[in-house]
């Protein structure tokens, strides 16, 4: 059935669309949909995808690479430092305990110690892809459960570097089999003596950090200056591909390299831009990855020894869950949060694929053992969303203390409440004033030079095109209370308005407008808070001028307010008129006539025509009138 690339693409896409939308309709996580689609199209059900499933898995791992790059982008070194306690503490306890318990379990089962230790390390790692995807999908990132999960996953992501580094030391045979064909030619690690391999790993990390600082960021600046959007997408992929290539060349996991690359770039002004560029690709690739996991569940291996595999699976999940629960307890998580943590990280993660196949290459594992563990890994990953579902529907409702108030996360820079678009003279004044009130806005600006400069001044400014929904998304618009649009381009303001009105109606919109005509366009998009830059300042000047001519300041102040009120009302009246040009001009002329008339009236009655009650002459005249009557 298979063979044609187009046909495979159709199978994958159709499977994804059908199963994910089905899962979503049933209120399930999209991850379940992808996994189910994978199982269905895989070799053991419909057989659309045959033995090449492994190749697809290899390709789809690129989704994990992109995801780890994105996760890296979210973790600035500074936050990384702030989180050190929970990362090292929670992660350290979780990994050590899991390895220990799994080692004991497998040792009792009669495996060699090297095998038991390798499996223990593989098992200790949870699935960043599944856990974080599920947490983000449910919007739980800002709970203690979310940040704890993140800390643990992060520790695992780091410790895996050392695990891979340590694996060669476990290998008791120096003759390494010609494992993965992709790795046989020219990978550095294999050509090095075992002792130097660790050095090679450290060296490549250093290369990534230096290259990120001194090659990638300057390149992105050049690209940004061209103003060509797709070049930035190209650049983003160039970075990820480049890191992957470097890592594969050295013989390391591309995912780890990508993560490091992400952390290095997280302090650059291109953070949000890179995030939003790669996000859609990441989601699709991750979907592909999940499908590949589903397709790679080897039902033949399961059928051979269902009880052994079932037993091992059960034992591993129980060990992981137990360790997670204990970890949560030690770090004083509330019961409901702890239970969520326990269930969401109890699977074996995608790093296990890497570790296990590497261990196989190194002759630590036998083919059979690897196959078995791969099946356990895939099934445990598939079980996660189902376990989470059971937890959510059956267990959590019985635990009363749901953490209702979303506490701002202590460590990861808390998501900001205000988004400020445009940081020119207008926007920066707003930003300064907000900041003086302790409100740190997330600032988006399109001028990379300015962004760079302002970041050096300590402002949180990000480079990017704010008319893109994905960029607004990564700037945290979903949680934002206000979006202040301080750009002087009405086209940008309109584009943002449309996105916000349509997708994020809960976000308060405040828009700068250059003049009446821009204001009309915004009013017709149903924006209520419009700030004409030409209104207040010119009236302030006019009233100061009149004050110099001898008019009273307080009266002028009231008159300015009157004028603004009148002008705003007329603005709104005019904006609601149909936009047929001739009609519009007619209306505008009429409005102008009206304004002339009003000015004339003001002149006749004296400029101070209001506030009669403070005018004793006026009262006296009224008194006289009533006396005459």
């Amino acid at each position: 059935m298979s063979g044609s690339l187009l046909f495979e693409a159709i199978v994958f896409l159709a499977g994804a669309i059908i199963c994910v939308s089905l899962a979503k309709r049933l209120g399930l996580s999209s991850v379940i949909g992808y996994l189910l689609a994978g199982v269905l199209i895989g070799p053991y059900v419909f057989g659309f995808i045959g033995e090449e499933g492994e190749d697809i898995l290899h390709f789809a791992e690129f989704g994990v690479v992109v995801m780890l790059f994105l996760i890296g982008l979210e973790i600035e070194p500074k936050n990384f430092w702030n989180m050190r306690k929970s990362i090292l503490g929670m992660g350290g306890i979780q990994v050590t305990l899991t390895i220990a318990l799994t080692y004991i379990f497998f040792a009792i089962m009669g495996f060699e110690w090297q095998v038991a230790l390798t499996v223990g390390m593989a098992v200790a790692l949870s699935s960043t892809a599944i856990a974080l995807q599920t947490i983000k999908e449910k919007g739980l990132m800002n709970t203690t459960f979310g940040s704890s999960s993140f800390s643990i996953l992060l520790f695992q992501d780091i410790i895996v570097i050392f695990m891979i580094g340590a694996l060669p030391l476990l290998s008791n045979s120096s003759d390494i089999t010609e494992g993965d064909t992709a790795h046989t030619t020219g990978t550095l690690i294999e050509s090095l003596p075992i002792g130097l391999q660790t050095l090679a790993i450290i060296l490549s990390v250093v290369v990534i950090v230096l290259a990120g600082r001194f090659v990638v960021v300057p390149m992105l600046r050049k690209v940004a200056k061209t103003g060509v959007r797709e070049l930035l997408i190209a650049a983003a992929f160039l970075i990820v591909f480049g890191i992957s290539y470097l890592m594969e060349f050295v013989g390391l996991s591309p995912a780890l390299g990508a993560f490091l690359g992400g952390v290095v770039l997280s302090t650059s002004e291109f953070k949000h831009e890179l995030e939003s560029t790669l996000e859609p690709f990441k989601n699709l690739l991750l979907g592909l990855f999940f499908m590949a996991v589903g397709a790679s569940i080897n039902f033949v291996v399961i059928a051979k020894s269902p009880l052994t595999i079932g037993g091992i699976l059960l034992a591993i999940v129980i060990i992981k869950a137990l360790v997670l629960f204990i970890t949560g307890r030690i770090f004083k998580l509330k019961l409901d949060q702890n239970v969520l943590l326990t269930f969401s990280l109890a699977q074996v993660g995608e790093f296990a694929f890497v570790l296990l196949s590497f261990a196989f290459q190194l002759n630590i594992l036998e083919q059979e053992q690897m196959d078995m563990m791969l099946v356990v890994t895939a099934v445990s990953m598939s079980l996660t969303p189902i376990l989470a579902l059971l937890n959510e529907r059956l267990i959590l409702p019985k635990i009363g203390t749901k953490e209702l108030i979303k506490r701002p996360m202590d460590h990861i820079a808390k998501s900001q409440k205000v988004i400020l678009v445009g940081f020119g003279h207008f926007g920066s004044t707003i930003g300064r004033f907000l900041r003086s009130h302790g409100v740190e806005a997330t600032i988006l600006d399109f001028d990379s030079n300015r962004v760079d400069f302002l970041r050096k001044m300590g402002f949180e400014v990000y480079y990017g095109d704010a008319t893109r929904q994905d960029l607004l998304e990564s700037a945290g618009i979903a949680e934002a209370k206000l979006l202040i649009c301080a750009t002087n381009k009405v086209s940008v303001a309109k584009a943002i308005t449309k996105i916000v009105k349509e997708k994020y109606p809960h976000v308060g919109l405040m828009v700068r407008s250059k003049n009446r005509y821009d204001a009309y366009e915004l009013l017709n998009l149903d924006v209520h808070n419009i700030y004409r830059e030409t209104l207040d300042t010119s009236l302030t000047l006019a009233s100061d001028a009149l004050s110099k001519l001898g008019f009273r300041k307080y009266t002028l102040n009231r008159q300015v307010q009157n004028f603004i009120k009148y002008d705003e009302a007329s603005l709104r009246r005019l904006a609601t008129e149909p936009k047929r040009d001739d009609d519009y001009i007619f209306k505008a002329r009429k409005e102008l006539e009206q304004q002339e008339k009003l000015l004339e009236n003001d002149f006749k009655r004296g400029i101070v025509a209001y506030d009669n009650h403070w005018d004793s002459d006026h009262i006296r005249k009224q008194l006289e009138k009533s006396n005459e009557a």
């Binding site: 009273r552 307080y554 009266t555 002028l556 101070v608 506030d611 403070w614 005018d615 004793s616």
Partner: protein, 197 residues
């Protein structure tokens, strides 16, 4: 020579005949500071520190304002609320204003006759001004009866000129050796024999 501070509050001074007449001579008088609150603070953004400094520098304070709805225009209330701070103007450590003299100079549309138990305003001017009197008391200041220009709608230019003269004489009097016993039977400073002669 005692220094006089006139805290003047009229939201529409340019339309007030009576006050224009009263103020005209005092604006540039020696040792008299004419302080136009609405002109200085059109946004009601009163500079507390500056106001307190002004109070410290003067011996006689005058709240000069039209009587609106039996009270002062809004900015004078704002001034009181902001400037007369706890432990500055009053309270255990608030002794800065002690022994200074303070009183109201008011203009009213209604005549003196309507401000009494038989008149349609039921209460006397002195009764309506109790909050000012008590403010002064709490700050340890000497509160004098008001100087009032009443029935302004019916006053001729000549009447107003007379009142302006009286106002100026009063200030001269207070700046000199003024004996408070002269006030024993006065409901208004206008009633001082020296002025009415």
């Amino acid at each position: 020579m005692k220094k006089v501070l006139i805290l003047f509050a009229h939201p529409k001074f340019e339309k007030s005949r009576a006050n224009a007449a009263l103020i005209e001579r005092l604006k540039d008088k020696a040792h008299v500071t004419f302080h136009d609150l609405y002109e200085h603070y059109p946004n009601f953004h009163i500079d507390v520190q500056r106001e307190q400094e002004l109070l410290v520098q003067h011996d006689i304070i005058i709240w000069h304002h039209p009587l609106y709805w039996y009270s002062s225009p809004a900015i004078l209330k704002q001034w009181k609320d902001l400037v007369l701070e706890f432990n500055w103007a009053y309270g255990p450590k608030g002794k800065v204003l002690q022994n200074k003299t303070i009183f109201n100079v008011i203009t009213t549309g209604g005549s003196r006759e309507v401000y009494c138990s038989e008149g349609y305003n039921t209460f006397t001017i002195n009764e309506f001004l109790r909050p000012y009197e008590q403010t002064a008391n709490l700050c340890g200041m000497r509160y004098l009866p008001p100087f009032a220009v009443m029935g302004t709608h019916h006053l001729s230019d000549e009447d107003l000129l007379n009142y302006a003269n009286q106002y100026e004489q009063l200030i001269d009097l207070l700046q000199g050796d003024f004996n408070a016993t002269q006030l024993s039977n006065c409901f208004f400073l206008n009633d001082l024999e020296i002025l009415t002669v």
